[in-house]
Amino acid sequence: MAEEAISYNGRDTDPERPVLQVEDLKVHFPIKEGLRRRIVGFVYAVDGVSFEVGHSETLGLVGESGCGKSTTARAIIRLLDPTDGKVTFLGNDITTLSRKDLRPVRRDIQIVFQDPYASLNPRMTVREIVAEPLRIHDLYEEGGEDRVAELLRLVQLSPEHGNRFPHEFSGGQRQRIGVARALALNPRMLLLDEPVSALDVSIQAQVINLLIEIQEELELSFLFIAHDLSVVRHISHRLGVMYLGHIVEMGTRQEIFENPVHPYTQALLSAVPVPEPRGRDQRERIVLRGDVPNPANPPSGCVFRTRCWKAQPICTEETPPLVEQFGHVVACHFAAPLEIKT
């Protein structure tokens, strides 16, 4: 066990095992006050999240701002240090690896960010941007140039684009550059943090199709984080719905969209505006009361209870565990299917 923790040998792995396993992950940010920066409380950004991602699988994490979905991704590749929990990647416990030992892990898990304007260095050409990971890992000298050309082709940019600078590209093209860079080291897994949220719908569809093609071709695993449910539905095999640092419901795409049993999932789905004007006045819509509570002071018991129309005294007293009900896992004392007309 201890030996496993210091060495990372991502390449020889059991194909039966999940690529990524996250167990009871917690990220609590201290709130500091006063001159001595005394800790006066914590923001419970991620508070006990567990899931797995299999080979060539996409797990979608959905939820509204502040639910902890991006923090989860950042804690997985240790851009943030988790407070508690365990992250296992290709059978190796990577939770406590040192910076140095993390390097090979970060070759195998890459992250793509939302903002294609902020995540590319404006002073580097596209070729340099895509080559940078290869150089950092001392892989450029041998065939690096060809590799960069191949990567640009893979994301459907032409090789001539390599000599240009990021500002010469549209948002969609920039996001392709970000994807090419993420693929440079031949990773096993991509963490995609709102990768299409900043894009217009016609361009968004191009990038979604590209991601699906790349996954099939390279047999990659994706953790796909987004707030847009229709995008997540399109790309994910399985889905976890997050609320205030917790996964409240998780299952296959079909289960979550066709048979949601957590009241929050039901409300979330019914709140999505439908691009179909016919019958819009007849649609039944669950409009939730109020706002998401402050994650520094989360409600006792079930975190959703303050906005839930089903809440009973037990919801204040006992945190519902994430357990199998109605064919998938859900954390609710009163989980039940609902007839939603969308």
């Binding site: 361009i203 191009q206 399109h234 691009p275």
Partner: protein, 348 residues
């Protein structure tokens, strides 16, 4: 139908930039009638926001420039009105709601005082107490809980959804004839968006205002609009009743938008994106500005040489496409290619 309350006629707006002249708005015409909601939909750079901003004298000149066009409000052209007259119209007659409520509210005044100020500015005889009472009533209408207490809070004490409600209350304070909402829910989470959209519908019903709702979100617009204007490259390319735009589009761009849209229900099929990128507004393509991305234009000289005009093609359904009558066929073809059925509201 009655007279439109606001009509934009052939508006052309340009901006001087170091890279050249940006043709942001290129001959836009649309109108909105009392009590109706006109949805203006388009992607970034389509000119949907600049059109209304210039119509209300809210663009910087220079670098901006209104080259030509009219903005008829209640029978009078308001372009080039003196600043104070324009301000009077903006505050009282045509109200606006923007995407980001944090930057539209003054952080050093309480929310209540800001709304009350909007009331007092246009009602000289109103007492302060009366303004406070009316403001609390407005906050209540838009669903701000405990409006009495919330009156005295500052914008930072409001959540994003509550701030947007406060903005709606402020916009409605003087019972405007036109409400212009520019991406009013884009910054909000989906459950909060649902709340705010309900409030907007309610506010429009209460005041009978005509609404121009600008958005890139085809879901939001399908929920809210009576008619839709689709903008692309600084032009209106299609306009018609909401049901027709979604079910029988007459412009290949509108069709392309519908086909690229991932959906929350129905069969999951491959998306059919619009190829290429939006046009540069500095060096615009000749002919139809959509032709470089249009499947229907392949091998057609006309699309490359002649700019199509927006014309009525089907009883109030307008399209700016030379081959508008082929869009239905194209829809059937694309539907087949992506494996969806073209009937039964495949687009919806």
């Amino acid at each position: 139908m009655t007279e439109p309350v606001l009509a934009i006629r052939d508006l052309v707006v340009e901006f001087d930039t170091p890279d050249g002249v940006v043709h942001a708005v290129d001959g836009v015409s649309y109108e909105v009638y009392p009590g109706e909601t006109l949805g203006v939909v388009g992607e970034s750079g389509s000119g949907k926001s600049v059109t209304v901003m210039s119509a209300l004298g809210l663009i910087q000149t220079p670098p901006g420039r209104i080259v030509r066009g009219e903005v008829i409000y209640k029978g009078r052209d308001i372009i080039g009105l003196p600043i104070d007259e324009m301000r009077e119209i903006r505050n009282k007659e045509i109200a606006m709601i923007f995407q980001d409520p944090m930057t539209s509210l003054n952080p050093v005044f309480t929310v209540g005082d800001q709304i009350a100020e909007a009331l007092l500015a246009h009602n000289e005889k109103m007492s302060d107490d009366r303004a406070r009472d009316e403001t609390i009533g407005l906050l209540e209408m838009v669903g701000v809980p405990n409006p009495d207490r919330r009156y005295d809070q500052y914008p930072h004490e409001y959540s994003g959804g509550m701030r947007q409600r406060a903005m709606i209350a402020m916009a409605m304070a003087n019972k405007p004839s036109v409400l212009i909402a520019d991406e009013p829910t884009t910054a909000l989470d989906v459950t909060i968006q649902a709340q705010v959209l309900e409030v907007m519908k309610l506010a429009a019903e209460e005041t009978g205002a005509a609404t121009i709702m600008i958005t890139h979100d085809l879901g939001v617009i399908a929920e809210m609009a009576d008619r839709i204007a689709v903008m692309y490259g600084g032009k209106v390319v299609e306009m018609g009743a909401v049901d027709e735009i979604y079910h029988t589009p007459r412009h290949p761009y509108t069709l392309g938008l519908m086909m690229s849209l991932p959906r929350i229900t129905g069969e999951i099929k491959r998306l059919l994106p619009i190829p290429g990128n939006p046009p540069s507004l500095i060096s615009r393509p000749p002919g139809c500005s959509f032709h470089p991305r249009c499947r229907m234009s392949e091998g057609r000289e006309l699309c490359r040489t002649s700019v199509p005009t927006l014309a009525d093609v089907d009883h109030g359904h307008l399209s700016a496409c030379h081959f508008w009558d082929e869009v239905a066929e194209e829809l059937a073809r694309e539907a087949e290619a992506t494996g969806i059925q073209a009937h039964g509201g495949a687009l919806g």
